[in-house]
Amino acid sequence: MSDTLQWAIFFALGCYVLGMMLTLRRLLQGPSAQDRIQALDYLYILGMLVVLVLGLRYSSDMYFEVALLIALFGFVSSSALAKFLLRGEVIE
């Protein structure tokens, strides 16, 4: 792996972590519940991106499954939370 790709991987990881910190700020300060759900959803996506890039960093196929699972759990959790806010229960 060339130095260029190493540098790009660290740059991308740094961007993701910085984005996670900003998103965490939105998650903590709200102001409403739907803002927090959306911030959580974006945190899931950024976490999935971190795992994807780590898979590139370590040249391993296993990370794709992890990224897929994180994306799936992010979808399930944020849609369940949104549904709960909408109707007061998740499964009717």
Binding site: M1, S2, T4, L5, W7, A8, I9, F11, A12, L13, G14, C15, Y16, L18, G19, M20, L22, T23, R25, R26, S32, A33, Q34, D35, I37, Q38, A39, D41, Y42, I45, L46, M48, L49, L52, V53, G55, L56, S59, D61, F64, E65, A67, L68, A71, L72, G74, F75, S78, S79, A82, K83, L85, L86, R87
Partner: protein
């Protein structure tokens, strides 16, 4: 590095370029999520992370692993396709939630336009709103 150079130089450059683009897009989405003023404006920046940032990262993985394995690799497409299916659903649910809650709080959200099959106006939860049924025969 001690590992032998298996991947062509231009593939590594392509992957590096896509990764940098992906990082910038994801960061832009996060900055927008913090800086925009109300919820309906803030719905838009995360879409940047879910689409362009993910596509760029998956494109980088696709290029690098295809060159490394010497054949096409399909796993990155699964991530892209899964996000294409799930992200709009989450977005629609969140938008309906925000509309419903802001309307319930009297926060100046636009009135409900959805109709039940019998013509009554209903809100996001399916309950009838106001006296919309009054003008029915």
């Amino acid at each position: 590095m001690t590992a032998p150079e298996l991947v062509p130089y231009w593939v590594e450059w392509l992957a590096a370029l896509l990764l940098v683009a992906s990082g910038v897009m994801a960061l832009t989405g996060a900055v927008g999520l913090v800086r925009l003023k109300n919820f309906f404006q803030r719905m838009h920046p995360p879409a940047l992370g879910a689409t362009l940032a993910t596509w760029c990262a998956c494109g980088a993985s696709l290029a690098y692993f295809s060159a490394l394995r010497g054949g096409p690799v399909v796993q990155p497409w699964l991530v892209v396709i899964l996000l294409c299916i799930t992200v709009p659903i989450t977005t629609i649910l969140l938008a309906r939630t925000a509309l419903f809650r802001q309307r319930a709080a009297g926060d100046g959200a636009p009135p409900a336009l959805s109709q039940a099959p019998d013509g009554r106006r209903v809100d996001e939860t399916g309950r009838a709103v106001g006296d919309a049924g009054a003008d029915l025969p």
